[in-house]
Symmetry: C2
Subunit: 149 residues, 2 copies
DNA sequence: CTAATTCCTGCTATTTATCTAGGGATTTCA
DNA sequence: TGAAATCCCTAGATAAATAGCAGGAATTAG
């Protein structure tokens, strides 16, 4: 139940785009440097995020990336599902091809359990937006959270 | 964000123990057969569950395993944390040695994010007990859930 | 004693995660 | 137009984790 670097880097990179959204298009290179992520690796992640419609890209000199929607409209669930696949404790309730194989699903109590867990975890992730993170970052810089009052 | 077989088998095996708790000690072999899990693999899992105090064992002929506490007092979180380690989206908020390495935690907004996610996911897992699963199983057998009314 | 059972240690094949390599395609600016 | 900057694509290399196997030692009921 650990995120891989795909999900973690992805969220950090998207947060980075959100924080610099006023500067127009952001180069992959600058995101990679600020977030200390391998450029080549980040390329793969951005390719998936673009294909999923979460970011737009501008090619050529002075090109770069930007969020496709406002930070309020992008959740951690959106990002993580794109980069890590469906968030689900098991294959059998992930909704893919594997799920079809589980013929006993209708009579299997574990199916109910995992499905319940799946729904709740997705709800948690979908309730957290990039805007929320930006807000927390703002508070941090103001010292609000600094001393864990 | 997928459970490995450790966690899944572990939950199923513990549920199996709960369902047969009236029969005294349950042999590993019978659990493995009913749940279709490799005996040798299940040995490792039971060793960990025992070390963690979730089950008791009786050695020798007629021996076997039984739950150390009542099904109401054992949560999915208990089981999964034993077999898969701390449930946490990242190392840096998992509470282990790795967490110490993250010196910037106090000033890092991602730390807040992951910690928030971690707490909520654990809350979901800790709110689900073996007794809950037994109850769902009972309803299934009565046909209550059978047709997804 | 003997059969059944847990307990312990180590090994290994397979898969997955993470990152690297290298080049190609596209666009902008001078 | 041409060069620089950037996105785009495919393949593979390395390391770690997963999932399971093997063999036997220790324990106990009958």
């Amino acid at each position: 139940m650990r995120l891989s670097t795909k999900g973690r880097y992805g969220v950090r990179a998207m947060f980075d785009l959100a924080m610099h959204s006023q500067e127009g298009t952001i180069t992959l290179k600058s995101v990679a440097q600020r977030e200390n992520i391998s450029e080549k690796y980040l390329e793969h992640l951005f390719a998936n995020l673009k294909k999923a419609g979460l970011i737009h890209s501008v090619r050529g000199a002075q090109g770069g990336y930007r969020l496709a929607r406002s930070p309020e409209e992008i959740t951690l669930g959106d990002i993580i599902r794109v980069l890590e696949g469906p968030v689900s404790p098991t294959e059998c309730v992930a909704g893919g091809i594997e799920a079809e194989k589980c013929e006993r699903a209708q009579h299997c109590v574990m199916h109910l359990v995992w499905n319940n867990i799946r729904e709740q975890i997705n709800q948690v992730l979908d309730n957290y937006t990039l805007a929320d993170i930006c807000e927390e970052q703002r508070k941090l810089q103001n010292g609000g959270y600094m001393f864990y009052i």
